[in-house]
């Protein structure tokens, strides 16, 4: 009796072990499959990248606000690439490789493009310096009242040139 009981107990344990193993494998396979599936990307994620790229066929319209079929296809491509795990920088690089720098809403900081970034602040700075110098020069040229006379508390009228003494006459 004990032998039968022991045998059925072993079978029971074996069934439990196999069940656990199958369950474990199912979890692993399911998890691996889930990882292999592209993660759906939200419209916000797509538009965040689309707003940095220009429509290929319209002038000065970014992808996120463009309603043409070409833009819709590009947005779909962005979504696909996000789903595949590409970063926004990788996606932008891909678009530049495929279509050139002109697709970028912000020109890359390379080569002569630096002029676009450096010239405006340089011009502003130069203008500011020239303006400050101009005002300082004109300030230093304005008539100064001697400190000794300021200290006496005399009125400007009193210290001003005496017109009558120079022969001038105010009518």
């Amino acid at each position: 009796m004990n032998l039968v009981h022991s045998f059925s107990r072993k079978i029971f344990m074996a069934v439990i072990a196999i069940s656990i193993a199958i369950e474990g494998m199912a979890i692993i396979v399911n998890s691996a499959w889930a990882q292999a599936q592209p993660t759906p990307s939200s419209d916000d994620q797509v538009n965040a990248i689309a707003s940095q790229l220009y429509c290929p066929v319209c002038e000065n319209i970014t992808l996120d606000v463009c309603s043409t079929q070409a833009c819709a296809q590009w947005r779909d491509l962005i979504r696909d690439k996000l789903g595949q795990g590409d970063s926004p920088a990788q996606i932008k690089d891909y678009f530049v490789q495929q279509y050139g720098d002109r697709v970028l809403a912000v020109p890359p900081r390379t080569g002569l493009n630096w002029l676009l970034y450096l010239l405006p602040p340089l011009i502003f700075l130069a203008a500011l310096i020239l303006m400050v110098r101009f005002f300082m020069k004109h300030r230093s040229l304005s008539p100064a009242v001697p400190e000794s006379e300021i200290g006496e508390g005399t009125s400007p009228a009193k210290n001003g040139p005496d017109v009558s003494e120079k022969g001038g006459k105010i009518d």
């Binding site: 070409a70 296809q73 279509y99 340089l122 011009i123 130069a126 040229l141 008539p143 100064a144």
Partner: protein, 189 residues
């Protein structure tokens, strides 16, 4: 006191700007000139005209092979710019494929499809849908569309065996006869 700031009669005070101000102004001016020249160069590039030689170019096809104009020397080359989002390209897709099967398979005329500003999945789906079998590739970095100064799609160019531009067709071909006439007249066959 005031008189001491005035220059003596008949004389003017000439103040020189500091050298760094002059240098900075020079650099800024030069930069502007460079930008201006580059802009002018870009806008003033000669457009392709009939009878002009076409510079060599490279097209990487969707299957990864590379084709250059130089490698096609001795053959007439038809270059068709298209895109899957272009509705009029749909109309001429069948005409081009039919034309290719009719005259291209002989080997003397090569058809090249240049997919402009398109996505690869959409382009491939388009090609499959309209059974396009001649060489096709994306216009990488928009190099070819810039070289030919295309104004839109579809546009078709015909280059003769010597690399001279013989035909320009803006817009779609309306019929197989129109394509046939384009090929016969322009290629001199």
């Amino acid at each position: 006191m005031i008189d001491s700031f005035s220059p003596p009669e008949g004389q003017t005070i000439r103040k020189r700007l500091p050298i760094w101000v002059i240098l900075a102004a020079g650099v800024i001016l030069l930069s502007f000139l460079v930008l201006l020249v580059l802009g002018l160069q870009k806008s003033n590039v000669q457009t392709l005209t009939l009878g002009s030689k076409v510079a060599d170019f490279k097209l990487t096809t969707f299957d990864g092979s590379q084709v250059t104009l130089k490698s096609l020397q001795g053959k007439t080359v038809l270059i068709n710019f298209w895109a899957s989002w272009c509705t009029t390209c749909i109309d001429e897709a069948a005409i081009l494929q039919e034309g290719w099967q009719k005259v291209g398979l002989g080997g003397q005329i090569v058809f090249l499809g240049v997919d402009y500003a398109d996505t690869e999945p959409a382009a491939k789906a388009f090609m499959q849908k309209y059974s396009i079998s001649y060489l096709n590739g994306p216009d990488l970095r928009s190099a070819l569309s810039q070289q030919f100064h295309i104004s839109g799609v579809p546009e078709t160019y015909l280059i003769d065996a010597d690399g001279t531009l013989r035909g320009i067709k803006i817009g779609p071909f309306g019929s197989a006869e129109e394509l046939s006439t384009f090929l016969e007249q322009k290629s001199g066959n």
